[in-house]
């Protein structure tokens, strides 16, 4: 009897739990509402757009959420570009990424992302224009390019390519005006068939032809049709007054067939549309129902499954926020978002590695939520102690569906002395010992089948000895000695068989004794050291032979000692490192008495550490008051990876004493204030969803830049489009203090998303921003830059798709390209100028030098001539005197005359020589002038009348070299002299005749002429000839008896050159 009843109860409980266990994991709802920034708490629609922003449509305003801030859009009466109405029914993004808003009475609104304004379209429906008609409550795109809208007074089709409503759409053509105005529901089955509901008549309509057939007319007396939602291909749910109809479209029969009718609530009467607002089947096959009575879920894969209801519970902050659930939306990161009457709620359906068991309204695996003490017996059962009783999970080592949860308390288990089992220890034989919170401890006696009973040791020392004290642990050391760690009754050594015992009492002042009466943990390490952790006396090492203790306590004045005197656990890892968990940090004993401390600073989620387990990979897991942490400590590097309820670990975040355990098969168990979490560490995978990143603000000189489509020339800089849509920003040179604000659109743990940015042109590499969402650049120089930003999720997995924006800061006017051009031109001109001056200088110098040289030549020649001239003068004078003194001596006279002549010739030659040297005389004109003067001089006192002809100034342009001039002079001087001496002419003339390129210089007289053959003349003629040759000119000599004579020189101008 005693055993049957509990068994019956257990069995019934088993039965109950079995069904309820085959269900999804516990749901941890993450909620936010008006307090966090939502415009209003009644959220009717949730949607995520292609950029990653979350949109919440409330009853008063449209909200866009980036994980941190809400941007709200309202209806402004005087602004036609504002939202049509604040009561939002529907948010939809079409295949071209246009965002459409359906609201109550405000028409169909299209959101303009660039300007963040709306354009409203009003359907032209047959019903008289009223609010209902303009209330768009449902938008769907099918096929691509056409929107179907359902309003409160009709259905309309919108053509996306033309951006206008379709007039008289085909699918509606079977319906009359009145019917159309009462058409309030639609569901598209496929590209050919659509369901249209007119009041309480459901029609199956051929989209292409417009033919409509009514369904369900006689069979079911359905007075109302509610939400219709997709279940799978050609299967859908129809909520009706007869129940939830799981319906199938049979193509062959072109009709609808009801597969099954569900009743979501057994006792309720009529179920109307108002009850079920939304139906959604998620990727795991669970069908969710948003109703006015909370959230329901049905496992459609399980035929026998029943609806599970989640309702609002005042006391659970991570439960459903309201019983009014309006919308269910699954986003791309396996998160289900709910629009409820009290804000937005979301939970993850991404299978976490953690299996959570607890005690709550619909989860009753454990006796209670508060778990302390976990142990495994040799039969594959997991024993879980807690405040409300002892739970034994049978077949824990087998598949989940084999598990049996049995809750034991003193009521159903008489030998269980106390319901609160705070520790379950195991001795060296594998037997379990239960440590009670009060009233001692007991040994578990199990038979070969695993059935068990308890043997009490509460009265070991004395009856009621432990009435007011807890037993923390029972420990059997290697030599088979049993020890009791008690709270307040010191350390007790005992023999379970002989029932003998010895207490080691603490002594505050005797340092060889136990340091504190509360012993939390006993541990024998691999070197046979015997360690004790106390509640306020630190760590003690016991010499069991001598029965003395060495204590290691916390000393704030010394470094490297124990971090806190409350030692919760002692653990030796596989590398024989001794770890001490305390109330203020984790310690590693490096050498006896020297400890290395680890705390929150080093990455632990919390400083209050409870216990530690090591998984089979060698990683250490520590439980704290804020989740658990996987730690490693290798080569001086301490790493942590923290997990809490956000990761799906629901037992915590506050964990408990003795609430940590590693099973034989390497699963880890952690118990906390909210139940038990079990997982395989190898199953923990990184969060696979990486967030998109968006620019949320652009600041100039720390002020947000607003979007103004038209250029308001007030001097304030504005953007043409919202910063997230902007590809390029062009700024003036003084607008150089910029900042960007950004957000990662990943909502699992928004605050832990990480960012990295880089301004190309300024930053050498990516700047790791951590969780900071602001990048600022003061004092940017003019130039073209590109700002790039990327984000990582809370686990540090980066989305390599980055967002970039070009920033162009114009150069100041004095640095623009045309300014530079001016500088360049100036520089070039300057250089040119310098070069020119120098060239001029050089030339001048050259000229001066040349002139100087000439002058020198001239002077030297002049000086020589002067010298020689003086000599000649003297000789000339002397010959004159000699002549005068010759006294009639004819021969002498003659000789002297000849001397005189020769002197004159010499003189003349010298003077010519000097004349030739002068570069100013280097042309034909000067030469001929000289000749003329010479001739004039010669003929002046003679009978011959000398004239010239043709010696004109243009002859200055004909250059002659020194030699040429000399020869020319000599030729004609000779001729002139001869003419004077021998011709006895009356007239002599020197003429210049130009015939094209040939200039003829001719000296002629009308004298007696001379004989060419005459030897006397031969020499002279030869001279003329050779001189002409030397000059490089042709010559001609004419002479005839009594007909005069002439000497001609022909100069070819082109040969002379310049």
């Amino acid at each position: 009897m005693k055993t049957i009843l509990p068994r019956l109860i257990s069995i019934s409980l088993i039965f109950f739990f079995e069904i309820s266990f085959a269900q999804p994991n516990e749901i941890h709802f993450n909620n936010f509402s008006v307090d966090e920034g939502l415009s209003q708490s009644g959220v009717r629609r949730v949607f995520k757009d292609h950029q990653g922003f979350m949109w919440f449509g409330t009853q008063d305003g449209l909200n866009r959420y980036d994980g941190f801030e809400f941007k709200t859009f309202f209806y402004e009466p005087n602004d036609s570009t504002s939202l049509g109405n604040n009561f939002i029914w529907e948010i939809f993004e079409d295949s071209q990424h246009n965002l459409w808003i359906g609201n109550f009475g405000g028409g169909l609104c299209l959101f303009n992302r660039e300007l963040e304004t709306f354009k409203t379209f009003y359907p032209n429906l047959p019903a008289t224009s009223n609010l209902n008609e303009r209330s768009v409550k449902y938008i769907k795109e099918f096929p691509k390019g056409t929107l179907w809208l359902s309003t409160h007074a009709g259905v309309a089709l919108f053509d996306l390519s033309k951006m206008e409503f379709v007039e008289n759409p085909t699918p509606l053509k079977s319906f009359g005006k009145k019917e159309l105005s009462k058409m309030n529901n639609l569901f598209i089955i496929n590209e050919n068939r659509v369901i249209l509901v007119v009041k309480n008549h459901l029609f199956l309509v051929d989209i292409n032809s417009g033919e409509a057939h009514q369904m369900f007319s006689e069979k079911l007396e359905i007075s109302e049709f509610g939400k219709i939602a997709k279940h799978q291909k050609n299967q859908f749910w129809i909520n009706s007054s007869s129940g939830l109809l799981l319906t199938k479209y049979v193509e062959s029969a072109d009709s609808l067939k009801i597969l099954r009718t569900y009743q979501i609530e057994k006792e309720s009467g009529k179920i109307s549309d108002h009850l079920i607002h939304d139906i959604y089947k998620d990727r795991n096959g669970l069908v969710w129902f948003a109703t006015m009575k909370g959230l329901f879920v049905l496992d459609s894969k399980n035929e026998a499954a029943d609806f599970i209801n989640y309702t609002h519970d005042e006391n659970s902050p991570n439960g459903l926020p309201s019983n009014f659930v309006f919308d269910i939306y699954e986003d791309d990161s396996q998160t289900i978002w709910l629009g409820t009457g009290n804000g937005v709620s979301r939970f993850s359906i991404f299978p976490p590695p953690f299996q959570n068991f607890s005690f709550a309204k619909n989860r009753t695996e454990l006796c209670g939520s508060f778990v302390a003490g976990i142990q495994e017996d040799t039969f594959g059962n997991l024993w879980v102690g807690g405040r409300e009783g002892l739970t034994v999970i049978k077949n824990f080592d087998q598949a989940t569906d084999q598990w049996e949860f049995n809750c034991h308390n003193p009521t159903n288990q008489k030998d269980l002395k106390h319901k609160y089992v705070l520790g379950i220890s195991k001795d060296r034989s594998g037997d379990l010992w239960l440590c009670y919170h009060r009233d001692g401890f007991a040994k578990v006696i199990q038979n070969e089948k695993g059935d068990w009973r308890l043997e009490s040791y509460s009265d070991l020392i004395a009856p009621d000895y432990f009435k007011n004290h807890a037993i923390n642990a029972i420990y059997e050391d290697r030599s088979g000695v049993f020890w009791i760690a008690s709270s307040g009754k010191n350390l007790i050594k005992f023999d379970p068989k002989k029932k003998t015992h010895k207490t080691f009492v603490y002594d505050d002042h005797d340092f060889t004794k136990l340091s504190h009466p509360y012993v939390y943990v006993i541990f024998e390490d691999s070197k046979n050291n015997f360690w004790l952790g106390t509640a306020a006396g630190g760590l003690c090492k016991m010499d069991r032979e001598k029965e003395t203790f060495t204590r290691y306590a916390h000393d704030p004045n010394q470094p490297n000692n124990l971090s806190h005197n409350m030692v919760t656990y002692i653990f030796e890892d596989s590398k024989t490192r001794l770890w001490i968990c305390t109330a203020n940090g984790l310690n590693l004993m490096e050498t006896e008495g020297k400890f290395k401390r680890f705390s929150k600073k080093d990455g632990l989620p919390n400083d209050f550490t409870y216990g530690m387990v090591e998984d089979k990979n060698g990683d250490l897991w520590v439980s704290t008051n804020n989740g658990i942490s996987k730690i490693t400590f290798e080569q001086g590097v301490f790493t942590t990876e923290n997990f809490n309820s956000n990761h799906g670990l629901f037992a915590g975040n506050e964990f408990n004493q003795n609430g940590y355990f590693k099973t034989k098969d390497n699963r880890l168990c952690f118990g906390g204030t909210n139940g038990l979490s079990v997982f395989d560490p190898n199953e923990i995978k990184p969060y696979p969803f990486v967030p998109q990143v968006a620019l949320t603000d652009f600041l100039l000189f720390n002020e947000s830049v607003s979007v103004a489509p038209k250029k308001i020339k007030k001097g304030k800089f504005t953007l043409n489009q919202s910063i997230n849509e902007t590809k390029e920003v062009n700024l003036k040179h003084y607008q150089n203090f910029l900042a960007f604000e950004f957000a990662a659109l990943g909502f699992a743990q928004s605050e832990n998303n990480k960012y990295a940015y880089q301004m190309e042109g300024v930053d050498q590499d990516w700047v790791q921003s951590g969780t900071r969402r602001l990048a600022s650049y003061p004092n940017l120089k003019s130039g073209n830059y590109v700002f790039k930003i990327k984000a990582a999720n809370h686990e540090g997995i980066w989305n390599e798709e980055l967002k970039s924006i070009a920033i162009n800061i114009a150069p100041p006017p004095w640095k623009t390209w045309w300014a530079y051009l001016i500088y360049l031109a100036t520089a070039v001109l300057a250089i040119y100028g310098i070069i020119w001056f120098r060239v001029q200088n050089v030339r001048r110098v050259e000229k001066a030098k040349l002139a100087e040289r000439e002058l020198f030549r001239k002077r030297s020649a002049r000086d020589f001539h002067d010298e020689a001239g003086n000599q000649i003068t003297k000789i000339s004078l002397m010959t004159e005197i000699a002549k005068r003194k010759s006294n009639g001596n004819f021969e002498l006279n003659n000789l002297v005359d000849q001397i005189g002549d020769e002197i004159q010739t010499l003189r003349s030659g010298m003077r010519d020589f000097i004349w030739v040297l002068d570069p100013d005389n280097d042309n034909l004109y000067e030469t001929l002038m000289r000749l003329k003067e010479f001739a004039n001089g010669i003929f002046e006192f003679s009978q011959i009348h000398f004239t010239t002809k043709g010696i004109d100034e243009y002859l200055k342009t004909i250059a002659l070299s020194g030699n040429q001039r000399r020869h020319l002079l000599l030729i004609f001087k000779e001729g002139i002299n001869n003419s004077l001496k021998y011709s006895a002419a009356q007239n002599a003339q020197f003429s210049v005749l130009q015939n094209e390129e040939i200039i003829e210089l001719k000296f002629s007289d009308d004298g007696i002429g001379f004989e060419k053959e005459n030897q006397k003349n031969g020499q002279g003629l030869k001279n003329i000839k050779s001189r002409a040759e030397k000059m490089g000119v042709k010559h001609d000599i004419f002479s005839e008896k009594n007909k005069g004579s002439a000497i001609s020189i022909f100069i070819n101008i082109t040969h002379m050159g310049n």
Binding site: R862, N870, T873, L877, K932, E933, N936
Partner: protein, 209 residues
């Protein structure tokens, strides 16, 4: 004695000086008893006893011929100074003309020509080479108003072209003597002009200073 042309010579080369004196003095119609080797010794003597004609060497080592001209002109204003030069195109010749010389003679000329020119110089008609003529033209162009009469300008231009007295006289339908007179006039104007210019320059310099 009255018809003899009295000539003085200032020449630094002793041999030339001696020879010239011999020739000039030994030629009929000439009387040359005053010879000096430099201006310094000549000036006081010439003051006492000034001849008709002074032959002055341009190239004197101490006081130059040009400097000498102005001093000599003071002591013997009516004396005609003719420059003796080896080279007629010398710049100093022109400067001498500007300073007051009435003509120039080439030293190396055959003596009979030399004597002929002396006679001409005494008569007042020194030759002007085209080079000198051009310098004269340039000189007068530099001045403010051209003091030359149109006739003189004509003559000057023809001289520039290298014409001799005969041809110029033919061209202008006047006698050679007229031409010589014109040339003499040109010389004196040159002298006046350059003196005036020098004074003006000096005044300017004083003002500038």
């Amino acid at each position: 004695m009255e018809n003899l042309i009295r000539v003085a010579i200032i020449e630094d080369d002793p041999r030339i000086r001696q020879l010239m004196q011999l020739i000039v003095d030994g030629s009929p119609g000439f009387y040359c008893h005053q010879v000096f080797e430099d201006c310094e010794s000549a000036i006081p003597a010439l003051e006492k006893n000034s001849p008709h004609l002074l032959l002055l060497d341009v190239d004197l080592p101490k006081m130059s011929g040009i400097e000498g001209i102005s001093l000599i002109k003071k002591v013997a204003p009516n004396m005609n100074i003719v420059m003796l030069t080896v080279h007629e195109d010398d710049e100093t010749v022109f400067d001498a003309l500007c300073a007051g010389a009435v003509g120039y003679l080439i030293k190396g000329l055959p003596p009979d020509q030399l004597l002929l020119y002396l006679k001409e110089a005494h008569a007042g008609g020194s030759p002007m080479s085209s080079v000198i003529a051009r310098k004269v033209v340039r000189h007068f162009h530099g001045g403010q108003n051209n003091p030359l009469s149109p006739r003189e300008t004509e003559v000057l231009q023809l001289l520039c072209l290298g014409e001799n007295y005969k041809t110029i006289a033919e061209k202008l339908f006047v006698s050679s003597n007229t031409i010589k007179a014109h040339i003499k006039k040109i010389y004196s104007k040159l002298h006046v002009n350059s003196r005036a210019e020098a004074v003006a320059k000096a005044i300017q310099k004083r003002i500038v200073r």
